[in-house]
């Protein structure tokens, strides 16, 4: 449904001009563009983990080989790159998400907490689960 009804105007106009500098020209656009870019490193991590699941299903040798492959300097560099962007994503997701958390959504009223708290609180949740998952994977729990 288009809401920009084309009005027939007798006045000739010059074409609309674009906002300058998007997406990388202005500093304030850069964090937005960086945030958008995170989808690529995150997808790479997801695919690597999928590869791991597949290796795990093929037996002990495949699993050991896959793990060993991760130790190469190239793979370590790639995974650090992906981790950096995934962490940036998590922090920014919680931070910009505070605006949704700040308002009434249907029957659920606004929480009435200060904005910075709403932005930082999810991070607490995220960090907790990172630690719990690491402990589970490391064998300390479960």
């Amino acid at each position: 449904m288009s809401h920009a009804q084309t009005r027939t105007s007798s006045t000739p106009t010059a074409p609309a001009r674009k906002p300058s500098g998007f997406p990388l020209g202005w500093r304030r656009y850069r964090s937005y563009t960086l945030f958008a870019f995170t989808c690529i490193p995150m997808a790479i991590s997801g695919l690597l983990l999928l590869q791991g699941v597949s290796a795990l299903g093929q037996g002990e040798q495949a699993w050991a080989a896959w793990l060993a492959g991760l130790a190469s300097p190239g793979m370590v560099a790639l995974n650090l790159f992906c981790l950096a962007f995934t962490l940036y994503f998590a922090f920014r997701f919680g931070w910009v998400g505070r605006k949704i958390a700040a308002g009434r959504i249907g029957p659920i009223p606004a929480p009435g907490l200060p904005m910075p708290i709403l932005g930082i609180a999810p991070l607490g949740g995220f960090v907790t689960l990172w630690i719990v998952l690491l402990l589970i994977l490391g064998g300390a729990i479960g």
């Binding site: 449904m1 809401h3 920009a4 009005r7 001009r17 910009v96």
Partner: protein
């Protein structure tokens, strides 16, 4: 005699009867210390070049008429102090709108989008005047008051990167206004606004660049309204939340 500082202004000019495309004219304007860019534009028109066209009215940030790009950023020129800029100051009409003449843009699409969200109290049955006023508590007012502060200056439309490539996007001011009425306890029109707001060209076209809220001179924070409208609309689309005001 107050000190005047000569400031260079580069101003976009376009006259459809003489120009095929916009050009820039440079003016050297003696400015007082407390001048805003609008004062300089008026000085250009009064003393230097009477052919310059620009919109303005209240010169105190409440009418929304004088929005333009100053050094690439959408601002109200009545609130942009000359002393806060260094070097040549570049003044252009608002981006994302066709240019009618010089600094004047065609805001027709903006007006149409504002109207399309039905920005008025919708009641199933209108209350008779004799039945008295609608009562609203401060808490109920607080649910939407921020979103009611919009002065329709269209700076948010000029700033929005989505609008740059998708002119059909409903836009920040219209969505924030629709959300304002949906959050008003007196209103019963949530379902009537739904198709317009919850459209692929409505809230879903927004990519949360937050540029709109960065430039809004009245701190409406339309980006916040849009994200809240997204979650609300998604839950309503799933029929988990009914289309009504809960305040």
């Amino acid at each position: 005699m107050a000190e005047m500082r000569v400031v260079k202004f580069e101003v976009l000019r376009f006259g459809p009867e003489t120009d095929t495309e916009p050009r820039f004219d440079t003016y050297e304007v003696p400015c007082m210390e407390d001048w805003v860019v609008l004062d300089a534009l008026n000085a250009i028109k009064d003393d230097i070049d009477p052919t310059l066209s620009h919109r303005w009215s209240c010169r105190m940030g409440v009418c929304g008429s004088c929005g333009m790009l100053v050094n690439g950023r959408p601002v109200l020129t009545c609130a942009a102090f000359v002393r806060n800029y260094t070097g040549t100051i570049r003044v252009e009409p608002l981006s994302n709108f066709p240019v009618v003449r010089d600094l004047v843009v065609d805001l027709g699409s903006f007006i149409d989008k504002i109207k399309s969200v039905k920005p008025w109290i919708i009641r199933k049955i209108e209350k008779d005047v004799g039945q008295g006023e609608y009562r609203q508590s401060p808490e109920q007012l607080a649910e939407f008051k921020q979103y009611s502060m919009c002065i329709n200056c269209a700076l948010c439309y000029a700033a929005c990167p989505v609008l740059a490539s998708e002119p059909e996007f409903l836009g920040p001011a219209a969505i924030a206004l629709g959300h304002r009425y949906n959050m008003d306890s007196r209103d019963e029109g949530n379902a009537e606004r739904f198709d317009t707001l919850a459209d692929a060209d409505g809230v879903w076209a927004c990519s949360y660049a937050n540029e709109c809220s960065q430039v809004c001179p009245k701190h409406v924070d339309p980006a916040m309204a849009i994200q809240q409208a997204k979650l609300t609309s998604a839950l309503q689309w799933l029929h988990v939340v009914p289309k009504k005001s809960f305040t």
